[in-house]
Amino acid sequence: MLWLKYALALTTLVGFWGAGLGLSPFIPLPASLLGLLLLLLGLVWLKRIPSALLRVSQFVLGHMLILFVPATMGILLFAEKLADNLLWLVLSIMLSTLVSLGVTAWICQRQWQNHAHANTDNEHVKR
């Protein structure tokens, strides 16, 4: 019975992806993104997450990395083609990724701290 529920949850994910694919000729956004937004709308309407859907999505997202493996092997293809500029490309990607990771996290931490202070201040005022 539990397996049936999990199968149903998996079908739901594929179904919403299919719905996104059906919508993509009309809305110029990637199909998987449209499917994601549709499912989000569905959950907002439902006001809760069905437990089987939660379990299945946690499993799928926890092991999502394996789905990237075939595409990742493309690294071997382009390493030869881009040999002349490879070093610069690698440098560009590493530098931009590390700097923006640090900056984004730093700004976010500051924002949340300010917000937390503002919240506690407000509560003091209320009291």
């Binding site: 994910l13 990637p30 690294i75 293809l77 590390l98 949340w112």
Partner: protein
């Protein structure tokens, strides 16, 4: 009859290569945990190395391997849809901290591609290669379609996206220690914004909360980039 056996052969070899990929993934995960789950030994690094050796000895080309494991790549679509669930569970915190959530995502989402483009801007490269850098921080299924829209090379865009993700996942905890980023919200949001789904997977390794906020960054930056980039290119061209 001949056609039937040819197609069943194709199915068989697709199942075979998907099974190999699964085995290599599990082995990489095992090695990663055995070595103390240090980000520097990211499972993806072992996956590439082991599979490269297997492909070399079996004489299968990378294109052939990708064609045979098309099922796994196709599943990325439904898996991306599954991101709606952690996103839904964080909706209330987005409502509470609207700007606090959006501002870092927008800044990170702009900074990553602009910096990448600046480094290679004056180098003699094909325009398509440079344009492929612009989708570096968004998740693979979105990057493929967006890169097509703006004149990048989709195959290269995917490689750049994944390399970005691995770099982000490997170095995130060192950067956070260096800059004293301790809040799980900030750690997750930055990982998801800059290093998309691979960063998000790393986030879920750190904790459920970091993972949930990484999902938030991944989704919002993915949506914004997928909408904004084609519009900018439409105006410029």
């Amino acid at each position: 009859m001949n056609m039937l056996s040819a197609s069943s052969n194709a199915v068989l070899s697709a199942v075979f290569w998907c099974a190999i990929t699964l085995a290599v993934y599990l082995a990489s995960l095992f090695i990663f945990r055995r070595l103390g789950s240090r980000p520097i030994f990211h499972p993806m690094v072992f996956c590439i190395a082991i599979l490269a050796v297997i492909l070399f000895y079996t004489g299968v080309s990378v294109e052939g391997y990708q064609a045979k494991t098309g099922l796994l790549t196709w599943l990325l679509g439904p898996a991306t849809v599954a991101l709606a669930i952690p996103l839904y569970s964080q909706l209330s915190s987005v409502k509470q901290n609207g700007v606090g959530v959006l501002l870092p995502i927008v800044i990170g989402g702009l900074l990553a591609p602009i910096l990448a483009l600046l480094v290679v801007y004056f180098l003699p490269m094909e325009a398509g290669v440079k344009l492929s850098l612009l989708t570096k921080s968004i998740t693979t299924p979105l990057a493929i379609e967006t890169s097509q829209h703006i004149g990048g090379i989709p195959g290269l865009a995917v490689v750049i996206v994944i390399f970005t993700g691995i770099v982000g996942a490997v170095f995130a905890s060192s950067i956070y220690r260096l800059l004293r980023i301790t809040s799980p919200q900030a750690q997750g949001l930055a990982l998801g914004t800059v290093a998309h789904a691979i960063g998000t997977a790393q986030g879920f390794q750190m904790s459920q909360k970091v993972g949930a906020f990484a999902t938030l960054g991944l989704c919002i930056n993915g949506v914004l980039t997928a909408i904004v980039l084609p519009v900018i290119f439409y105006i410029v061209s």
